[in-house]
Symmetry: C2
Subunit: 348 residues, 2 copies
């Protein structure tokens, strides 16, 4: 997608470096972070320089390729690098998918470093293509004039390009349909208010940020025609782990008859998880709740305390929405009802 008229992906490789749009700096400044080693890439994933299902996956693939490049064919080094990558974000299925795919293709190869690089690039390219197809498939659900609520950021910044939940919005907008997006703020990291709003503004899609608390109110007043969210991991029965607050929106959408869609590439499915109960939920630092960072009136970035001093906070990063609350899952292979049969049919 374009930033200031120039085409960008969220993550790409040049030489032995992995380059990232520095998402912790967005939307206030646009910077590129260069990870020269797989250890830098681990750090970039862990500190959320890169975040979002597909982008984490592509990064992990590139990070594995870096490890093969660095290893001089020492598989102990590669194995240790894989463990380091896999320890960065426990909930993200695409991370394990990509790390395993690069590892398995290269480990048995005659030219492991080259094979790893090619496989990592393939994963990134497939991610972008799949997201484009998700957009085309999801667009068929969007009518002219639709007002669409989304949670967190499952736009192009969360993938290599195009995005999952926002991809149908972009396709609809570019095809001339009038669409309006309500971007949930998505506390505590505010990816909706910061990243989704930034993406939508860059693309010229009309939108408003709403506090997470306003979801039920807006739905109850008939202001929302459909909801589309992303996914961090989807179990074999369709239960979906996504950013904390997704479950709450799905419960409200069911109450108000608002269609609730999950958009994700098939790489986000984890058939080893029979249900959502098996998906681990990452607990992040309470500091993400207690502090907020942003530019002050003079444009200087400041970290300020936004809670009462001395009180602690809980910060579960994800929740699991049961399949029964999901109207459909939009994938690159089509739209399915969330059931074990339909999920398994995607892979047969």
């Amino acid at each position: 997608m374009k930033v200031g008229g120039k085409d960008y992906r969220t993550v790409w490789m040049s030489g032995s470096s992995v380059n990232f749009i520095e998402q912790n700096k967005l939307p206030f400044s646009f910077e590129i972070y260069e990870a020269r080693t797989h250890a830098d890439t681990c750090m970039a994933i862990k500190t959320m320089i890169v975040r979002g299902a597909g982008a984490i996956g592509a990064s992990a693939g590139y990070g594995m390729a870096q490890a093969f490049l660095e290893s001089d064919e020492n598989m102990k080094y590669v194995d240790e690098a894989k463990r380091c990558l896999e320890a960065t974000r426990p909930t993200a299925q695409n991370l394990f998918y990509a790390a395993n795919r690069v590892y398995n293709s290269a480990a048995g190869s005659k030219k492991p470093a080259r094979t790893a690089l090619e496989e990592a690039q393939r994963i990134a390219d497939e991610d972008a293509e799949n997201c484009m197809r998700i957009g085309e498939n999801g667009n068929m659900l969007i009518e002219d004039g639709f007002r669409i609520e989304t949670h967190c950021n499952a736009g192009w910044l969360a993938f290599v390009d195009f995005g999952s939940a926002l991809s149908p919005v972009y396709v609809a907008h570019r095809s001339g349909k009038n669409v309006f997006v309500y971007a949930d703020e998505t506390r505590p990291r505010s990816q909706g208010a910061r990243l989704t709003a930034w993406e939508l503004r860059n693309e010229g899609v009309p939108h408003a940020i709403i506090p997470d608390n306003a979801g039920a109110h807006c739905m109850s007043r008939g202001m929302v025609d459909m909801m589309i969210v992303g996914a961090d991991r989807i179990a074999a029965n369709g239960d979906t782990a996504n950013k904390i607050g997704t479950y709450e929106r799905a419960i409200c959408a069911a109450r108000f008859g608002v269609p609730f869609y999950v958009a994700a590439p098939t790489s986000t499915f984890d058939l080893d998880c029979e249900t959502g109960d098996a998906i681990p939920i990452e607990e992040r630092s309470e500091d993400e709740v207690l502090y907020q960072t942003g530019p002050d009136e003079e444009g200087v970035m400041r970290k300020v305390l936004v809670c009462s001093p001395g009180s602690g906070a809980l910060n579960p990063a994800f929740d699991v929405t049961p399949a029964e609350l999901i109207t459909g899952i939009i994938t690159e292979k089509g739209i399915i009802k969330p059931s074990e049969e339909a999920v398994r049919s995607l892979f047969s």
Copy 2:
């Protein structure tokens, strides 16, 4: 309640001045704002130096008394002051209740200023007493070991003293029961993270701040035994206007079988509103969503932008929870099921 060992109310009169704990400065500094005229009091309500159902009511009563003091028995002046007070916060029932009560008692009196002062003081004292009774009634619902979620701040800072939703917690805690409170952050103004957490810490009640998004997740994991919230206005059928996000919590509580209580004095009921549809919802400035204020690492208060520059936001301040989702309403007269019959019986 005590602050640093000294007893305080949120609002009190001395001479012709109304004194407020400056709630916009909490929890980072404790200051008293002195409103010398009814116009100052209007400003204090409008800018949320004072906020919360009962505290707004007492303030409006005192403000009316100031107007009678200033009026030299010119009723045009008093009428204009009443309009000014009533225009400050459209959703708060206690405001209209108190302004009318002082006005009606004093307007027909031989010594209007003195009568107004006495009536305003009576309203404030009744508010404190009623909140204490709400605490005693609500405490009967709380078992030892209960983990109680609350939204926004309906503690003593929202009333003259003791509070509504938090009053049962204080009574339970003081009586030796183990209670733990989950304080919803309550974006955009974060009254839960700032005021409720501050109150609980002052009283030594164990608690944690949770992002608004974490409600359903915590309930789904069996972490919440009951939920108690306050109310800004309750219709004759039990529909309840309260801080934005309350509706969402009530929907989730119903799904997970978590008892959902509203705590409010009878002065918060508005029998002229047959249902919640008749309750006006205040829309506040988008700046409350776009910016956050707090101390930086050196303790200097900073206002920082927390959303993507150039994007707008919606900021509905309240929502209306339908009676069917409310387990019971805890009042100073007892606990009722939210039905028109039960509500009307409170006033018969």
